[in-house]
């Protein structure tokens, strides 16, 4: 059982120790194993190949021999990390500015998306808004219509909340494609990000204007060229919607709605109207184009679901994931992200054998509501073919469905709200590919 890439094969006692802690088929190891491993003195297992391969004297690198560059005003990532970028399409010639860029989930760790890598979805480009001229108008079924400047809102009490944002069309390529397309975790699932959003509770502003009896919805529009509009039931608007002014501590980025966006926690991203300029309190939804023609789900019987707001419970393994290559046999960490628009994540299970057997992954005990959760589990890969899957359960008891179960619910034309289980096939050579399983 020689490792064909580099390094030493596992010693038989190490291998037996690992397999004794197997919690599901095809090499998934108990999350408690690593602790036990170091106590047993077998901690060298993971790094033994490196020690064996490189026995020469260490030399001191050039950057340790001369001063580095000066402090700077606005920082950038290392030039050696320059490949970590959003996955952006070619410009749209017919409808300029319309399109999406995706977060490279497979190149990131933790749960917070850096602002420069937060996914984008625009319906008529990113406006360059002068905050001094921008206005938020609150009107309709209110006692007193009001106008707020950006400066006004900065003076209001704020709240900070960590929340995921997911486009309703995220992962849609896996929903209806006849065969699984070649793709990475980012290219397939990257219309998903998570940030700390800080802003003013919408309820504070609605109270100031005074919501009239009989009002039941708000209708909101942006100041972009598309003047994109969405409707939100009033009870949600009063519950937890914020007018977000800051994203991960700095003013929200232009592509996220600078100077302000309506952030609607847990709901399909399109509802979180960017460049927010109008909130009209009404007694019914406006039935905007993006809640009738789009962002509705066609069913097999010709009916359609409308105003489907919360994003379903979902997870995806980000490593190993599509287009990666396992270059080493031995112990790996399977890791990924889980989230739900209906609460927090209670459980994530992982399978390495295409769903025949499952093991619980490690997640933080204290899960945030409507935020990304990172999960992890050790995996011993010895060169056998594998199909890696993850399955999330949320605090409301919703369980992520299989792809087949999801597909059966809808017309093949529907690509919204796909939350089926992702399968990554690992070949004997270590290639990882998107598959339907």
């Amino acid at each position: 059982m020689q490792n064909k890439n580099k390094g030493e094969p596992l010693r038989s006692d190490e291998r037996i120790a690992l397999l004794n802690d197997q919690v599901a088929g095809n090499g998934l190891i108990s999350r408690r194993h690593l602790l036990g491993l170091s106590l047993a003195g077998a901690g060298g297992l993971v790094t033994s190949s490196v020690l064996a391969a490189d026995a020469g004297l260490l030399t001191r690198p050039a950057w340790s021999m001369a001063p580095g560059r000066d402090p700077s005003e606005y920082g950038n990532p290392s030039s050696h990390a320059a490949q970590i970028k959003r996955l952006a399409p070619a410009p749209n010639a017919i409808s300029p500015g319309t399109g999406a860029s995706r977060t490279p989930l497979h190149l990131l760790q933790g749960t917070i998306t850096p602002n420069s890598l937060h996914f984008e979805r625009h319906h008529s480009g990113v406006p360059d808004i002068d905050p001094a001229q921008h206005r938020l108008v609150l009107h309709g079924m209110v006692r007193q219509p009001l106008e707020f400047s950006y400066e006004d809102l900065l003076a209001y009490p704020m709240v900070s909340r960590v929340h995921f944002l997911e486009c309703s069309g995220n992962s849609g390529g896996n929903s209806s494609g006849a065969s699984a397309s070649d793709g990475s975790a980012g290219s397939i699932h990257g219309l998903l990000s998570c940030a700390e959003w800080t802003g003013v509770r919408l309820s504070t502003l609605l109270d100031e204007a005074g919501v009239a009896a009989g009002a039941s919805w708000i209708t909101a529009t942006g100041a972009d060229a598309a003047s994109l509009g969405r409707s939100v039931p009033l009870d949600k608007a009063l519950r937890d919607v914020i007018i977000a002014l800051y994203q991960n501590g700095e003013p929200i980025r232009p592509e996220q709605g600078y100077p302000m966006r309506m952030f609607v926690p847990g709901w399909e991203g399109n509802v979180s109207v960017k460049w927010l300029t109008q909130i009209k309190v009404t007694d019914g939804p406006a039935n905007f184009r993006d809640e009738t023609s789009r962002y509705t789900e066609l069913l097999p019987d010709g009916k359609s679901l409308q105003f489907t707001y919360p994003m379903g419970v979902k997870s995806v393994i980000t490593s190993p994931s599509g287009q990666m290559m396992l270059t080493r046999r031995g112990l790996h960490e399977v890791t990924g992200l889980a989230w739900s628009g209906s609460g927090s994540i209670r459980r994530v299970e992982i399978s390495a054998d295409g769903g025949r057997t499952w093991a619980d992954a490690l997640i933080d005990a204290d899960q945030r509501e409507l935020a990304l959760t990172r999960f992890r589990l050790p995996w011993l890969w010895e060169g056998a073919e594998a199909v890696l899957q993850s399955r999330a359960t949320d605090s409301a008891g919703n369980v992520q469905p299989s792809r087949a179960a999801w597909v059966a619910q809808y017309s093949p034309a529907n690509r919204y709200h796909f939350n089926g289980i992702q399968s990554w096939a690992v070949s004997a050579q270590g290639e990882v590919k998107n598959v339907y399983a």
Binding site: T204, A225, S227, S293, A413
Partner: protein, 187 residues
Amino acid sequence: MFTPDRKRVSSRFKSKALLLSLAVGGLLSVSAVMAADGPGLGKPIDESQLQGWDLIVQPDGTGLPEGSGTAAQGQAVYEQNCAACHGMKGEGSSGVPALAGGSLTTTPPLMTAGSYWPHASTLYDYVRRAMPPLAPKSLSNTEVYQVVAYVLHLHGIVERDFVLDRASLPQVKMPNSGNFIDRSQVQ
């Protein structure tokens, strides 16, 4: 003399609003309590100032402006502003939706305004706020009535001389209107 009067009216109105919200239910009364949260910096405006700015049109016609148009009038507007992308007969093109035909029973289904959209008001609302992509909000209210009438005519929903206006538009029955299931209570 004027100021105290206004104050009295204002406070009476506020307490009436508070009582009203208490009567409406827990949710609104909670929000009334939270009103003390903010510094109250909103500048009062009048709905009349929003004429021409507020573009929201609801299915019952709320928000529709004055004016009218027919498909016959709309053909020229369409050919000048829309046909380059949507096709001379509304057939659509790569990445651009068709504005004629469509069916939910074909494989794959072709979801158009005629085969899919539940409300005619959405056509008016969307065309006025977002079309054409290179010059949104450049059509007059009358031109929007005309071109919406033309698109409805391409779908066979209205006759060529049907007069579309704020009274008739909400009455236009879209073929797929009965087939949407409202899930807004699932939160």
